[in-house]
């Protein structure tokens, strides 16, 4: 296993001797490696992240961490430790059908969730304010230790371990494509095509989790 940034940097140093750290500052390589990792994870859709959110009294909307690409499930815990059941996804129109004044409803366990903004937008109070949020219905009027756990496809950290063949086939090709486009466009296009093909291979590989059983991954 290799870490994203250090792994990509080492491989690029071999492929572009004398240029990493000179033509391409380490900070630039680090940013490109993480951009490659984000593109890879969005395409492959197999890396799961989760976030536990402590509920508060009478609160409908909670900030969602910017590491999410897609939200897959939301679970509820009444004691803050054991997650008892899933919340169902609902549109605001669905909630209107339950009760036109659904905003005023309160309960002891939420049943539905809704998302405001595409997942992945960070809150930035110094500049534009709220980012992605999750709304729950019904909000709790009195919270003790209740939490929700949001699980979904998401981004990793610079120090995440990635299989070396994935780094070779995906991350390195993505970086090389961007770094060489102005010198050799055909080569850059080939690198990007290799990246896309690498993502497809990884997707196939990681979706064959049940290859020897009768359970088929969709």
């Amino acid at each position: 296993m290799s870490q994203v940034v250090t792994g990509v940097t080492e491989k690029l140093q071999d492929l572009l001797p004398g240029r990493v750290g000179v033509t391409w500052p380490s900070a630039t390589v680090s940013v490109l490696a993480m951009a490659a990792d984000a593109a890879f994870k969005q395409r492959v859709g197999q890396w799961y992240v989760s976030e536990e959110i402590s509920l508060t009294d009478n609160t409908l909307a909670y900030d969602l961490d910017s590491k999410f690409i897609t939200v897959k499930s939301v679970e509820f815990s009444s004691d803050g430790t054991n997650y008892n059941y899933h919340l169902k996804a609902a549109t605001l129109e669905d909630l209107d059908k339950i009760n036109l004044s659904w905003r005023d409803d309160r309960g002891t366990e939420p049943e539905y969730f809704f998302l405001l903004s595409c997942p992945g937008i960070a809150r930035d109070d110094d500049y534009y304010g709220t980012g992605s949020q999750i709304l729950i219905y019904r909000p709790l009027s009195s919270v003790t230790a209740q939490k929700i756990k949001v699980t979904g496809i998401g981004l990793g950290a610079t120090t995440d371990d990635v299989p070396p063949e994935v780094l070779d086939q995906c991350h390195v090709n993505y970086c090389l494509s961007l770094m060489t486009a102005h010198e050799d466009l055909a080569a850059a296009a080939d690198y990007m095509a290799e990246f896309e093909a690498g993502c497809q291979r990884a997707k196939t590989e990681y979706r064959s989790l049940y290859a020897e059983s009768t359970v088929k991954a969709i």
């Binding site: 033509t23 984000a38 969005q42 486009a181």
Partner: protein, 236 residues
């Protein structure tokens, strides 16, 4: 890639320049490219929602939402609530056909309208029917385009995974500029990468949206650079 500073860290070396040196592109040009990219992605994908709570004053028939304190620009309202309950959309023409004295009607609003309202660029004007007879709480759900700050520490108001799209847009614009570094083929290559990220953003946004909202087309993202492989002399 998360902040405006991260984008600059990648952008300048990729064009053979450095922030502070600015041989090929000024800081102001780079910032303008960045702002245009974020606006284009936010407008096309409608990835950013804002909920604005406003106490509608009695006897006001219309109201204008302009720039908020955070600099957010409202693009389109997709849901309106009065007193915590959804109200339906109508048009001024329907109201005229229905009741010629519609502007004199007062009570608790149950319809809203947006058309024939905007006389000033930058303002988003809305109206309620009938005119509220008392002050009443309203809530407006907008697709928005947040104002972009290009300070290094500022977050980019897009999903984190889609932010490299901003870099691709900036590179495409740079290689399109007249000058010694102009290269339309490289510009088109980056443009294709940018359009691919934007399409993915539309799809990720659309797949989480309520059922009565749709954006985007049926084109699927894929090997967008395929057409650039092999003989590049065939690129138009």
């Amino acid at each position: 890639m998360e902040t405006a500073g991260d984008i600059k860290t990648a952008f300048y070396p990729l064009i053979g320049d450095a922030d502070g040196v600015n041989r090929f592109v000024t800081q102001s040009q780079a910032q303008n490219f960045m702002v245009r990219a974020v606006r284009d992605m936010a407008v096309d994908s409608r990835c950013f929602d804002a909920v604005v709570e406003y106490t509608w004053q009695a006897d006001d028939s219309t109201h204008s939402f302009g720039l908020s304190s955070a600099g957010t620009r409202y693009m389109s309202a997709w849901r309106v609530e009065v007193d915590d309950e959804k109200v339906l959309a109508t048009t001024r023409n329907r109201l005229r056909e229905h009741d010629r004295d519609w502007q004199q009607r007062t009570g608790k609003p149950y319809l809203y309208y947006l058309d024939e309202m905007t006389a000033t660029s930058g303002l988003y004007s809305v109206g309620l029917y009938p005119t509220a007879s008392t002050n009443i709480s309203t809530r407006w759900y907008f697709s928005t385009v947040p104002d972009v700050d290009t300070t290094d520490a500022a977050h980019i108001p897009l999903p984190r995974w889609a932010i490299p799209g901003v870099l691709f847009y900036m590179l495409a614009e740079f290689y399109r500029m007249p000058g010694t570094r102009r290269n339309m083929k490289v510009s088109k290559f980056y443009r294709a990468l940018y359009e691919d990220v934007k399409l993915r953003l539309k799809q990720e946004t659309n797949s989480k949206l309520p059922k009565d909202r749709t954006v985007g087309g049926t084109r699927k993202p894929g090997l967008v650079t395929d057409k650039y492989r092999g003989d590049i002399s065939t690129i138009a």
